[in-house]
């Protein structure tokens, strides 16, 4: 009925503000982080676990540029496994991890940053701005 709908989807995310995918199972943290990022001008997709994140990434029209994920999450995959899958399937996407636990650099060496919780949202956003140019 709506021919050419996919081309008319830009308002659903394509070619508008840079898109960041936030993966966080704590709804308060997710909301607050998404608010900060939207306030900084980014378009934000929200997922509460790795499977949701991978489902969203399959929607190429969203053109996600950066994955910001917690490491400890319920479900089959944690944030480290999600990061590995994203690095492999979507090598252009920048990856930043967060966690309440500290991890040796070797665990997140192939990502673009790690922020131990509690993190300063301002510093996190500065880092993201630097990564996305």
């Amino acid at each position: 009925m709506v021919e050419g709908a996919s081309e008319r989807l830009p308002r659903l995310g394509l070619a508008v503000p840079t898109t960041i995918l936030v993966v966080e199972d704590d709804v308060f943290l997710r909301m607050s982080l998404a608010d900060h990022l939207r306030g900084a001008g980014y378009r934000v997709l929200e997922a509460s676990n790795a499977n949701e994140a991978l489902d969203l990434l399959r929607d190429r029209s969203q053109a996600v540029r950066l994955l910001l994920s917690d490491i400890q999450m319920p479900g089959k995959r944690d944030g480290l496994e999600l990061a590995l899958a994203v690095r492999f399937q979507y090598p252009d996407i920048k990856i930043v991890l967060t966690s309440a636990q500290s991890f040796p650099t070797s665990h997140w060496g192939d990502t673009d940053g790690f922020f131990p919780k509690p993190y300063d949202a301002k510093r996190l956003i500065e880092h993201i701005k630097m990564l996305l140019g």
């Binding site: 009925m1 659903l12 509460s48 489902d55 399959r58």
Partner: protein, 135 residues
């Protein structure tokens, strides 16, 4: 440029299916609403119990995993946050229809037809099904 920005109304969107929640949330944001996303009723209740969470409308799916479904959430809201509007939808077409109605009342002119959102959701769900079958 000197106009006061309109106060954004906030919608709490409760939907467990991320491929439905994301396009509906984007659509409502494009219509000028602030949208808080919750993946189930427990998350929604936790958010509503928090005094600092300002919500004007709750827009919820009916069938959801967890101890409380959409009807249970609506009942909880009637008891604990009387006066807060609740919109329930049990199917994707109904969800899209409700979103379109909210959009028509939003502060920004309707950015695109809700049918586009519906088609997008259908494509996303079909693509996931195909991907799972190929796994």
């Amino acid at each position: 440029m000197t106009e006061e920005p309109e106060v954004q109304e906030t919608i709490l969107l409760v939907e467990d299916e991320v491929l439905v929640r994301m396009p509906i949330a984007q659509y409502l944001r494009d219509c000028g609403y602030k949208v808080i996303e919750a993946g189930n009723a427990d998350e929604a209740i936790a958010l509503l119990l928090h005094k600092e969470t300002i919500v004007d409308i709750v827009f919820s799916d009916i069938e959801m995993p967890g101890a409380v479904d959409g009807f249970g959430l609506a009942k909880w809201i009637r008891e604990h946050r009387p006066g807060l509007d609740v919109l329930l939808a049990g199917t994707v077409p109904r969800t899209v229809e409700n979103a379109q109605q909210l959009c028509e009342q939003g502060s920004v002119p309707k950015p695109y037809d809700a049918q586009i959102v519906h088609n997008h959701i259908k494509r996303l769900l079909a693509a996931r099904k195909a991907a799972k079958e190929n796994e």
